[in-house]
């Protein structure tokens, strides 16, 4: 191992972290407003992946694919909200979580029946990596990283610079105070699910372009994304993104010592340590006890 190997590992980790960041952001957005960990997040990602794949097949354009993925992800999330989550919204967290697991099952099964289980890849020419000495960087990774950053930036602008974002944050902060201040909760919920769905849909397209699409693809992304969101502090959008990047890089950089089989465990070890030392997450403040 020389320095270039470590830099390559760090680059791989950064890209994996960015890939995890989008579903982690969606998880944290839903958690912030609806107050439950949505286990169907990964399956919204898969829906976005299939839609993006379909749109790319039809149009040949990655931009159209991303828009298609975002639209499908939003549609799936809104449908799940209206049909499954809204009727049980006032029940305990465990009910909502189990509902979300059920929604995930239904989506995965539906995709399996509709498209089969063989992995599919985007039909696009593969580019060779750019080499700087022993360090190699993929042009495709740069564009995907840029796209991810643009999506993250758009969500942050929406959350922190618009009236809608202020309402969303107000509800996340203190639902009762928000309600008495005249914030229309239902409208905010719909907006939040649509945003979370779009983020998932784009994540599906991005990971589909990088890897392959099959009905279980998003499900496999769920646990790392969840760990990232917990490390960053559930409910904190900035924390989710930073947590994902931190987790991705730690996992890859740990491989010279842990080997490849156990690198995933590193994520969970870090999560446990964070929960022990800073239960609210690295980038979250302490929650009020209600």
């Amino acid at each position: 191992m020389n320095y270039a190997d470590y830099i390559n590992l760090a680059i791989n980790g950064l890209v994996e972290g960015l890939l995890m960041a989008l579903p982690a952001l969606a998880l944290t957005l839903v958690y912030g407003l609806a107050r439950f960990p949505n286990a169907a997040t990964g399956d919204f990602v898969t829906v976005g992946g299939f839609a993006g794949f379909g749109m790319h097949h039809l149009s040949g354009s990655l931009v159209v694919a991303g828009l298609g993925g975002a639209a499908a992800g939003a549609a799936a999330a809104l449908a799940a909200y209206w049909l499954a989550f809204r009727p049980v919204m006032r029940r305990p967290v465990i009910t909502l979580m189990l509902t979300s697991i059920g929604v995930g099952f239904v989506l995965r099964a539906a995709l399996g029946i509709a498209f089969g289980h063989e992995p599919r890849a985007f039909e696009m020419p593969l580019q060779r990596a750019m080499r700087f000495g022993d360090i190699s960087i993929l042009p495709a990774d740069i564009s995907l990283a840029l796209l991810t950053i643009v999506v993250l930036a758009a969500v942050f602008v929406l959350l922190f610079m618009t009236p809608l974002g202020r309402s969303l944050r107000a509800i996340a902060d203190d639902p009762d105070l928000a309600r008495v201040s005249g914030i229309r909760r239902e409208r905010c919920m719909v907006a939040m699910w649509a945003i979370a769905g779009m983020v998932c849909g784009i994540a599906g397209t991005v990971s589909g372009v990088r890897t392959v699409i099959y009905p279980d693809a998003g499900w496999n992304l769920l646990l790392p994304a969840f760990a990232a969101a917990v490390i960053g502090g559930l409910g904190s959008p900035v924390g989710a993104v930073l947590g994902a990047i931190l987790l991705g890089m730690l996992q890859e950089l740990a491989t010279p010592w842990t080997g490849f089989v156990y690198k995933i465990a590193i994520g969970y070890v870090v999560m446990v340590i964070v929960l022990l030392v800073r239960p609210q997450g690295l980038f979250n403040r302490v929650q009020k006890v209600r």
């Binding site: 980790g13 593969l126 392959v212 890859e252 080997g259 490849f260 089989v261």
Partner: protein
């Protein structure tokens, strides 16, 4: 006195009547299972109709139906008609266990056939051992061979073990002139079996494996894993992987721009892989898969019937294995009788599946010879069978090369 005698007579009559009735009832109770056992022999088909095995499961089910129809058309096995109950294993151990339990307890099957992946076979075998029922499968995991899993020797494998796949890989690597191989394997019994089988055979010839990586499946990227293997500058990488991770690995390898060759098991390097990655990336990849017993009359006989039934004869080697499972089971029932225990049937399957007897290629032929009191050896459509001490077969392998987006069969490897 009179009335009391009448009462006595009545009592007697009642006693006789109830005795006769219960005797009739008892006889009926005893007779019906005996009758059912003579008339039918229950077979369970536990095939992967959905899940990762779905490309093969439907063909396997059809092949079992073809075989059973042949057996019944020839008058059944020792007078018993074979009746098939089917369950979908969903290529998932949990679902396979549920299906197996149903087949064993509700359908009362005497043999489970058509089981596909190693995970399913490993999960189901304790149940069949417990029930003293045969298990015939097409799984590769070496653990399925000996004790503790198969200590009762009720399990029969119709596919090469992953260890044998590994030996075939080593044979092909040698033949292609490679000197610096590396391995990459999925962290499960099948993946590790392939690459460890390769490494054992390769090192036995006094040669070195330059790097080996074991990875966790279902990752979005395997770039760090690849980087670690490629650092050793191998001239070929031998894999034990499935289709999804192979697609991602090859895509990332091609993008890395490093030159190397690949030897990949046939269930991962197939038409779907070429479709996903295109001809440029896949050019020159060697795909290794067992081949059916193509020169045998049993294969020709099977291929004709299977083709008519819509089975992909060339692309689904597992269907031929499922067909052989049903035929050899029928022959064992013919030899041991439909009421034989699992252990007795297993002994007969082993005997009929090894060399030394008169070679037969169909059930009808075998039945005639068995009735004449001869010892027979069934030469299968999937392989010549020849069960070893662990009830494992050694089929032939074919090396295919991907050339301009087409799988081209190059040569046969016999172990």
């Amino acid at each position: 006195m009179k009335p009391s005698r009448t009462r006595n007579q009545e009592k007697q009559m009642k006693t006789i009547h109830s005795f006769v009735m219960s005797a009739v009832g008892l006889a009926a109770l005893c007779a019906s299972p005996a009758f059912a056992q003579q008339a039918t022999f229950q077979v369970g088909a536990l095939t992967p109709v959905t899940g990762a095995g779905a490309p093969y499961g439907a063909g396997m089910s059809k092949a079992i139906e073809i075989a059973v129809a042949e057996i019944n058309a020839a008058g059944g096995a020792k007078g018993a008609k074979l009746v098939v109950s089917s369950e979908d294993s969903q290529t998932a151990p949990q679902a396979a266990v549920l299906g197996a339990k149903k087949l064993l307890s509700v359908s009362n099957v005497k043999a489970l056939i058509g089981v596909w992946s190693s995970g399913e076979s490993l999960a189901v075998m304790p149940l069949t051992n417990e029930a003293n029922v045969l298990l015939m499968h097409a799984s590769g995991a070496p653990a399925l061979s000996g004790p503790p899993v198969n200590d009762k020797k009720l399990g029969f494998r119709f596919q090469a073990t992953n260890g044998r796949f590994g030996r075939a890989f080593a044979e092909i690597a040698k033949r292609e002139g490679y000197t610096k191989p590396a391995t990459m394997a999925f962290n499960n019994a099948s993946g590790l079996g392939n690459t460890e089988g390769f490494a054992t055979a390769w090192k036995a010839a006094g040669k070195e494996v330059v790097a080996s990586v074991v990875y966790e499946p279902n990752r979005p990227s395997y770039r760090s894993e690849l980087q670690s293997v490629l650092r050793a500058k191998p001239d070929v990488i031998v894999t034990g992987s499935y289709l999804a991770d192979t697609t991602i690995i090859l895509r990332e390898w091609y993008q890395s721009g490093v030159n190397t060759k690949w030897i990949i098991p046939g269930w991962a390097a197939n038409a779907d892989l070429i479709k996903a990655l295109g001809p440029e990336v896949t050019e020159g990849i060697i795909s290794v898969e067992t081949v059916s017993n193509e020169a045998a009359p049993s294969y020709k006989h099977y291929a004709e019937a299977a083709g008519k039934a819509g089975i992909n004869v060339q692309g689904n080697a597992y269907a031929a294995m499922a067909y052989d499972q049903a035929i050899i089971l029928g022959l064992a029932v013919q030899a041991a009788g439909p009421t034989a225990s699992g252990t007795e049937l297993a002994k007969k399957v082993h005997e009929i599946g090894t060399a030394g007897g008169t070679q037969v290629y169909t059930f009808a032929e075998g039945k005639k010879k068995l009735e004449a009191g001869e010892r027979v050896s069934y030469i299968g459509a999937s392989s010549a069978l020849n069960f070893d001490e662990f009830n494992d077969v050694t089929p032939d392998f074919a090396a295919w090369k991907i050339e301009k987006g087409q799988l081209v069969r190059k040569y046969i490897v016999k172990l």
